[in-house]
């Protein structure tokens, strides 16, 4: 069998397109998921809360990686993070570590910092989308929220009594919402699974405790620059497994994909 190079590209391209489409419309996709912040009748589409086909951010993170794909937000970069560490950890993230760009994109919403400030300042505001209808758009509470706004405030917030009343019951149900606890020393990721740590370094240091990576994959879970990131376990478009997990965690299968325990 011989297939031309152009055909090969076409096949691959079609596969990617169909996958993207499936991600949006198929059961278990982002549509109607908690990541679908769009509102019936609203002017902002489901994808636009994160992506834009044009005028996407070109910000480059501390790791030299530009935000992508076609990111419709700026990048959290003003914050310092307290990273998870433990005496038994081989790949210590170290003090002052800034998460990799790929995780900062998630934390752009989920770190709970830089909430609405009433304007575009700070520029990294969670309420700023870079390109809506050709121009920068700021989700604004000035005209009241939810009922009349063209964004779905309730997608993230339970109420607006204070700007910390993020929606409960997502993951971190302590009444404070899904964002990470903000502390004076920075954003506290110390109670979260380590990210932006080298998987291969850990696997090398603790042979027998980690499944060997094959390229940028551990089983079916992706690494990013050989590091564990939010998206290693989570697929923001996939809801089949709950909690946007990439695979089911029944029998702790997700955990045991990497951890030999």
């Amino acid at each position: 069998m011989k297939v031309g190079a152009k055909k090969k590209i076409l096949i691959v391209g079609l596969m990617i397109l169909s996958m993207l489409a499936m991600a949006v419309v198929a059961q278990g996709g982002v549509l109607n998921s908690k990541h679908d912040l769009s509102k019936a009748g609203g002017t902002i589409g489901v994808c636009s809360f994160c992506h834009t086909p044009h005028q996407a951010s070109s910000v480059v993170g501390a790791d030299g990686v530009m935000v992508k794909p076609l990111w419709n937000r700026s990048l959290q970069s003003l914050n310092t993070y307290s990273m998870y560490d433990s005496p038994t950890l081989s790949a210590h993230p170290g003090a002052g570590t800034v998460p990799s760009t790929v995780s900062l994109m998630c934390l752009g919403c989920h770190d709970g910092i830089s909430s609405y400030a009433g304007s575009e300042s700070p520029a990294q505001s969670k309420h700023v989308l870079l390109n809506i209808g050709g121009s920068k758009f700021t989700m604004n509470i000035a005209g009241g929220y939810d009922a009349d706004s063209n964004v779905n405030c309730r997608g993230c917030h339970d109420s607006m009594a204070t700007n910390q009343n993020l929606k409960m019951g997502w993951w971190y149900n302590d009444g404070l919402g899904i964002y990470e606890k903000d502390t004076a020393s920075g954003i506290d990721l110390t109670d979260d699974h380590p990210i932006s740590v080298s998987y291969t370094a850990a696997a090398t240091a603790k042979a027998g405790q980690f499944v060997a990576a094959s390229g940028q994959l551990v089983g079916t879970l992706p690494l990013y620059n050989s590091k564990v990131e939010c998206a290693t376990c989570h697929d923001p478009h996939k809801t089949t497994n709950g909690y946007f997990l990439r695979t089911t965690n029944a029998g702790s299968a997700l955990c045991l994909t990497c951890h030999i325990k």
């Binding site: 090969k8 998870y84 433990s86 993951w171 109670d191 029998g251 045991l256 994909t257 030999i260």
Partner: protein, 713 residues
């Protein structure tokens, strides 16, 4: 395109293999720590499928490290509930006073484990279950149960139950410090811990023994539950980080000097485990059982020191035929002999002994601890005379069926002659600092017939009596002022045997005595001839005259050492544990009739002295004994000789009566304080050279013509 297909196929295969062989599933999923419904053991949930969730959570972890989810135990674990031992204290260890609650505090890691294992937090009490927070006090995974649980709590019926009293558990939250040492007057003992960082925290493969922060790194990190246990891996059983067999796990850290050559380490004897400790002894042989034959790291009955049973009972080990119980073979059966009438009180006194008590004879360090003093700390445990980590059955000083060594020489008093006495602490006034513990110089002992004021403590006794003196001297008896016995007379045991200051008696500066410290030729104050002649001794003692030395246990031992009794002075049916063919002194077997100077008694094999000295064997051996007048008067032996014949101020174990304030004649040396007739004595040039004037006594008159001022003072 071929490559494209190949790669595609490869990925498909990878996908399939990932599904069929979930990575790592062969480990924790098959252990008791799999509390999910897929678990294979009794205690588990009926509904929850996730395994990790019972301990860990990826976000919003309660105690953060290591992403902990189970509610933490709030037990106080204050001092008194943690392992404590005088031994650690005396080595300068800082003993933990609590278990920390924060990740940077010692004990925190152990507290994680205790969140289930102390039985105060219900199993399944995780902080959050898939985004839903738990109500504190109510296990959100509410159906974990099984044998060993009560209302979801681990119960005392479970072998995994540790409880909130950790006094009988291996210390945790304690900083590991292999550099600690303890100095003796001679010798130094280390804490006997592995001081090699690579071995303490060896490289993979996992699992491995490890120390934990918060301080000091590998060598001076802290011991926590997870130092010995790997909660994710049960390869070795009990989630141990290394094998139990052969002491592999324990000896990773505990490197006891001499252990490798000890009989307890090397014996291939079948281990017989009568049970009763709630944990069977592992292995098939004593060597395989190793540490765990005697010790139990959790919930043993003998605390401190983590013994399986209390004190000597650990050595007996119930009805074990392979240890030292009355069910064991003759060569090992200690229980039967040490429970005889006259004995070292291992079974009758308990809770007094402390390791290193030789360094703290008056006790009180740490506060409340006992020492060696007879006034309040009188005791004798197996480990006072034996070092179980070094003891061996070789060399055996006595052959089976023998009362005495086959031959004797100047080294016959050395502990090296008996594997049973290797590495035991001792005391000696005559050993020099840094000198050999087998050389006790008379010049370093006090003047004759005076109390030893300064003893040197010995990390390892080189001579047998150095062990005995720990108790049988003023070191334990207390300051006796002017006499070796006067203040001890009230300390007689129930069998009315008086305890005397044996150091006082065996002092080589005395004019006569038994050669425990050194050969008689080395007794500087002894008159010539210092040693007895060959004719006055029986084999093997008729060689190396003047240089030969002996053990205390050549005279004291079990009454049936040559047949049914295990050798050694553990216990006896005879007073003073006198051993040998003859076992009675100063009276006959009726304990009422004195041995007297007549041919019948002199030849009586039951007479104790006859074991080594042929008092009468067809002839008398000196012309004092053969004196027709003496024999006709049928004098009792103790009318001339001291009743405690370890050694005396005068020659030939003669006692004086003329001055009752003279320490040499005070009871019990002058039996019944009334027997001795001698008032002055002078050793003759030979055993048959005695003349009347060599002796001052009420029998010979006038006194003035006798030895007078040339008598032994």
């Amino acid at each position: 395109m071929k490559n494209f297909i190949k790669i595609s196929v490869l990925f498909v295969m990878l996908g399939i293999s990932a599904i069929c062989f979930p990575a790592g599933g062969q480990f924790i999923s098959n252990t008791k720590h799999n509390l999910s419904k897929s678990g294979s053991y009794s205690i588990k949930s009926g509904a929850e499928t996730e395994i990790c969730v019972f301990c860990h959570i990826p976000h919003g972890a309660k105690a953060a490290i290591p992403l902990w989810s189970q509610e933490m135990t709030t037990s106080s674990y204050t001092a008194g509930q943690l392992y404590d031992s005088d031994y650690l204290y005396r080595f300068g260890y800082t003993l933990p006073t609590t278990l920390g609650s924060l990740p940077n505090e010692a004990g925190y890691i152990s507290r994680l484990c205790l969140s289930c294992h102390d039985g105060t937090v219900a199993l399944g009490s995780v902080t959050m279950l898939r985004g839903i927070s738990a109500t504190p006090g109510t296990p959100i995974i509410g159906d974990v149960s099984g044998t060993g649980t009560t209302a979801h709590y681990l119960s005392a019926q479970s072998s995994a139950y540790i409880g909130t009293n950790l006094k009988d558990d291996h210390p945790i939250a304690i900083q590991y410090d292999a550099t600690k040492t303890k100095s003796f007057g001679s010798g130094t003992r280390t804490i006997e811990l592995n001081n090699s960082a690579p071995s303490i925290n060896p490289s993979p493969p996992y699992p491995r023994v490890q120390l934990h922060k918060p301080s000091g790194g590998n060598v001076q990190g802290h011991v926590e539950c997870t130092s010995c246990h790997d909660p994710h891996n049960d390869t070795n059983g009990q989630f141990l980080a290394a094998a139990k067999l052969n002491g592999t796990l324990c000896t990773t850290c505990h490197q006891k000097a001499g252990w490798g050559a000890s009989i307890h380490k090397t014996s291939g004897a079948a281990i017989n485990n009568p049970g009763g400790d709630n944990m069977t002894i592992p292995g098939n042989t004593l060597a395989e059982a190793a540490c765990l034959a005697c010790h139990k790291s959790h919930s043993g009955n003998g605390t401190p020191y983590l013994l399986r049973k209390i004190e000597e009972n650990s050595c007996f080990n119930g009805t074990s035929t392979s240890c030292h119980s009355s069910s064991a073979t003759t060569t090992k059966n200690i229980e039967s002999v040490i429970t005889k009438t006259y004995k070292h009180p291992a079974t009758t006194i308990g809770g007094v002994h402390t390791n290193l008590d030789v360094l703290y004879p008056t006790g009180g360090t740490p506060a409340g601890s006992k020492g060696l003093q007879w006034s309040d700390s009188k005791h004798s445990e197996c480990v006072d005379c034996h070092n179980p980590h070094k003891a061996s059955n070789t060399p055996a000083r006595l052959a089976g069926g023998s009362w005495y060594p086959a031959s004797v020489d100047s080294t016959s008093n050395q502990t090296a002659k008996s594997g049973a006495l290797i590495g035991v602490t001792g005391i000696d006034p005559g050993v020099s600092a840094g000198g050999s513990t087998t050389v006790s110089t008379p010049a370093s002992w006090p003047a004759k017939w005076t109390q030893v004021s300064t003893y040197r403590t010995l990390e390892s006794a080189g001579l047998e009596y150095q062990i005995c003196l720990k108790c049988h001297s003023s070191y334990a008896l207390g300051n006796a002022s002017s006499t070796p016995i006067s203040t001890y007379s009230s300390l007689s045991d129930p069998t009315n045997v008086y305890f005397t200051d044996v150091a006082w008696e065996i002092n080589p500066n005395n004019m006569s005595g038994h050669s425990l410290v050194t050969g008689l030729s080395n007794f500087p104050n002894a008159s010539a001839p210092k040693a007895l002649s060959a004719a006055q001794m029986k084999s093997p003692w008729n060689t190396s005259l003047g240089t030969q030395t002996m053990y205390c246990s050549d005279c004291h031992g079990a009454d049936a050492e040559t047949s049914t009794d295990t050798k050694g002075p553990h216990g006896s049916n005879r007073k003073f544990m006198l051993k040998g063919a003859g076992q009675y002194w100063p009276k006959k077997s009726d304990y009422a009739t004195y041995w007297r100077l007549n041919i019948t008694d002199g030849a009586d094999a039951n007479m104790f002295c006859n074991n080594c000295h042929p008092v009468y064997s067809g002839a008398w051996q000196n012309n004092v004994h053969s004196s027709a007048t003496h024999v006709a008067n049928n004098y009792a032996c103790v009318e001339c000789h001291v009743v405690v014949p370890h050694g005396t101020k005068r020659s030939r174990l003669i006692g004086y009566s003329y001055n009752v304030s003279d320490t040499a004649t005070i009871k019990p040396y002058n039996d019944n304080n009334s027997m001795i007739k001698i008032q002055g004595f002078k050793k003759a040039a030979g055993p048959t050279s005695y003349i009347k004037t060599d002796c001052v006594t009420t029998c010979h008159t006038p006194n003035g013509t006798n030895c007078g001022s040339s008598c032994d003072p």
